[in-house]
């Protein structure tokens, strides 16, 4: 190509890139506007919020946060949510990684059958089985307890985790596994010492997904939990909405507080998404 034409090309803005930019900007606005609105609103008084919904507040107030923190129920809910989400995430990671390892590397029907069940499980919407679940949990005395939430969340989120991990394990270099077997690893050691350390990227994806799913779950706490002591954050946030009047700045402060643990999780795990984690194993 001649230098002149390439120079010309640089100045030229193609319709394709224009469309791309427009879509990007719209997406950005869709995400950012509510975010700024909520974060900004959490530092305003009610009056201020109604007067200047989008305006910057030059006198930020922390009273909303104080109100949320001093509301004992809210802290209790935060604690409950952390318990449920952390234990659910650990349970899912342990169960799903072992299950995926088995499903991927067991030969014949022993691998296919359980995988088939899990995939069918994914296809059934949770709402379809809510009533039997409710009855079952009542019989098991798991209603109105955090354990019940942990059990149901684990059961609902494990199949997705198996799905993600299995697709990763299927691409795992078989030679590395065989080498570890010849090096004297038992099946459990192959899993623990070779497969798990090399699966940090998909595992952190699973951790984020499961934690988020469990953290944001409203449906099951709403169904299963009656006592205020066992409320989780989404329930507590709902309670901040009054029937007739809602103190929006306080609700916003609650929302901001509720999203902090997720933010921390993202930041911590982001480092694990390093590309090329498998680099150097083979000749590639």
């Amino acid at each position: 190509m001649k230098p002149e034409s390439s120079h010309l090309k640089k100045k030229h803005i193609s319709p394709y890139s224009t469309v791309r930019w427009v879509i990007l900007v719209i997406t950005l606005l869709i995400i950012m506007v509510p975010l700024i609105f909520v974060i900004g609103g959490s530092f305003k008084t009610s009056a201020n919020l109604y007067q200047h919904p989008f305006g910057l507040s030059f006198h930020p107030t922390f009273s909303n946060y104080r109100a949320v923190i001093h509301d004992g129920g809210m802290l209790r809910a935060l604690f409950n949510s952390i318990i449920v989400s952390v234990i659910t995430t650990i349970a899912v990671v342990v169960i799903a990684s072992l299950a995926s390892f088995g499903v991927t590397f067991l030969s014949g029907w022993r691998g296919i059958l359980p995988y088939g069940f899990l995939v069918i499980g994914l296809a059934i919407p949770a709402q379809a089985s809510i009533i039997p679940q409710f009855v079952l949990f009542r019989e098991l005395h798991l209603l109105n307890s955090l354990l019940g939430l942990i059990v149901i969340n684990t059961a609902l989120l494990a199949p997705i985790a198996v799905f993600i991990l299995t697709s990763f394990f299927r691409k795992f270099p078989v030679g590395v596994l065989e080498a570890s077997v010849l090096d004297g690893c038992s099946t459990m050691n192959v899993f623990r010492r070779v497969v798990l350390p090399l699966s940090r990227a998909p595992l952190s994806a699973v951790v984020i997904l499961v934690f988020l799913g469990s953290w944001n779950d409203l449906l099951y706490p709403l169904l299963f939990i009656q006592s205020p002591v066992n409320r989780t954050l989404p329930l507590a946030l709902i309670d901040l909405q009054g029937q007739y009047v809602t103190n929006y700045p306080v609700l916003f402060a609650g929302v901001v507080i509720a999203s902090i643990p997720m933010l921390i999780l993202y930041v911590v795990l982001q480092r694990q998404f390093v590309a090329g984690i498998m680099a150097g194993s083979s000749t590639g």
Partner: protein, 381 residues
């Protein structure tokens, strides 16, 4: 240290495909056995069965005199070097080499000394703290070797360990692997498709095709006395020229296309069976180096049209054509048979020879150096 014995080993896959069709092989203590053959001949399957990574459909496998057909790979006390090295990317070089010892629950101090010993042999002492991703291809290959030797296993298995290295490094590592193997003195099965590797490294070489061993000999015997056309064509580079020829009724002349060459009586003494082929078609095999340049035409020379000359510095490869039908043992090896046109052949002559492409050239032919094969069975006479 141990022997490895294979008795009637077969591998049949569930879909009915028979990858290995009955193999008998005994590898002595400290012996370097090379399995060589074109891709798909079953050589890697044999190796994987010895390792225990593949089940044995039929036959008996003994390591150190013990039947190990159903023994798990971990318990066979063998080390394997994989074609793509299969290093653990999350471990350092030292951890990679010492991993098997750690699995054996060896004390840390001992592991360290063994690893540093192995690293010294392999020239990896400087890179012990690096991860495989930071190493060059040659270094990775050596880590894979280190992982095998540090265990002091009763047998080594190597699956084309040099095939991913560049040509120069491959030659260097070839010698190094041989040296290490002799030093460690452990029975070794080495799989390759490269006949040069097979010839240079093996104490013995087993040539495989279609799941069977065609011939298992010392490299030189394999080269000098191939039992069939396949081995004859596979071993040697450039490969043997094979032509369809006719032996006349009297057994005096061999007709190679339109040319007739006198058969000296010595040839019949060497190849007794050749007498039975009087008046029949046979296949003759001529190694490229046994076609010396001759000055005059007579009853013992072969005249050919020169197509192309490749100067290698030390010698010339003369590609020529005669009007005889060239035969190819049915195998695909780096597309060589694809290139072989009708009547084409190669002669290896002295670098100072004057050769002009497009002109006829006269080669001397010492028929006692030729190989003779049955045209139908492809067996040597």
């Amino acid at each position: 240290m141990a022997t490895i014995e294979l008795e009637g080993i077969r591998k049949r896959y569930p879909n009915g495909f028979a990858a290995v069709k009955g193999i008998d092989l005994a590898i002595a203590e400290g012996e370097f056995m090379v399995l060589v053959g074109p891709s798909g001949c079953g050589k890697t399957t044999v190796l994987r069965m010895v390792a225990g990574l593949e089940t044995i459909s039929e036959g008996v496998l003994r390591i150190g005199g013990q039947v190990v057909n159903n023994v798990e790979p971990q318990k066979r006390d063998i080390a394997m070097v994989f074609q793509n090295y299969a290093l653990y990317p999350h471990m350092t070089v030292a951890e990679n080499i010492g991993f098997s010892l750690k699995m054996k629950k060896m004390p840390k101090k001992e592991i360290e000394s063994k690893v540093s010993n192995a690293a010294q042999i392999l020239g990896l002492s400087e890179s012990l703290k690096l991860k495989p991703g930071q190493l060059s291809g040659g270094q990775r290959q050596r880590v894979a070797m280190g992982r095998a030797i540090v265990r002091e296993p009763s047998a080594f298995l190597m699956d084309e360990p040099l095939s991913n290295l560049d040509a120069k490094l491959r030659v260097q590592m070839r010698a190094e692997v041989s040296r290490i193997q002799h030093r460690v003195g452990v029975a070794t099965v080495y799989v390759t498709h490269d006949q040069v590797e097979a010839m240079t490294m093996g104490d013995r070489v087993a040539v495989m095709k279609d799941g069977t061993i065609q011939q298992c000999e010392k490299p030189q015997s394999l080269y000098d006395y191939p039992t069939n056309m396949f081995v004859a064509a596979f071993i040697g580079s450039p490969s043997m020229n094979l032509y369809q020829a006719g032996l006349d009724e009297a057994g005096e002349f061999i007709h190679l296309g339109s040319q007739a060459l006198r058969v000296p009586p010595a040839v019949f003494e060497k190849h007794q069976k050749l007498r039975d082929y009087r008046g029949r078609d046979i296949v003759v095999g001529i190694r490229p180096e046994y076609l010396p340049v001759a000055t005059e035409r007579d009853e013992t020379t072969l005249t050919a049209d020169v197509d192309l000359v490749e100067a290698l510095g030390s010698e010339l490869m003369v590609h020529f054509a005669i009007d005889a039908k060239s035969m190819t043992a049915e195998y695909a090896y780096e597309g060589e048979d694809h290139l072989a046109g009708s009547g084409s052949g190669i002669a290896r002559v002295d670098a100072r020879t004057a050769v002009v492409p497009g002109k006829p050239m006269v080669f001397g032919s010492d028929l006692s150096r030729w190989h003779f094969f049955d045209k139908v069975t492809e067996e040597a006479m």
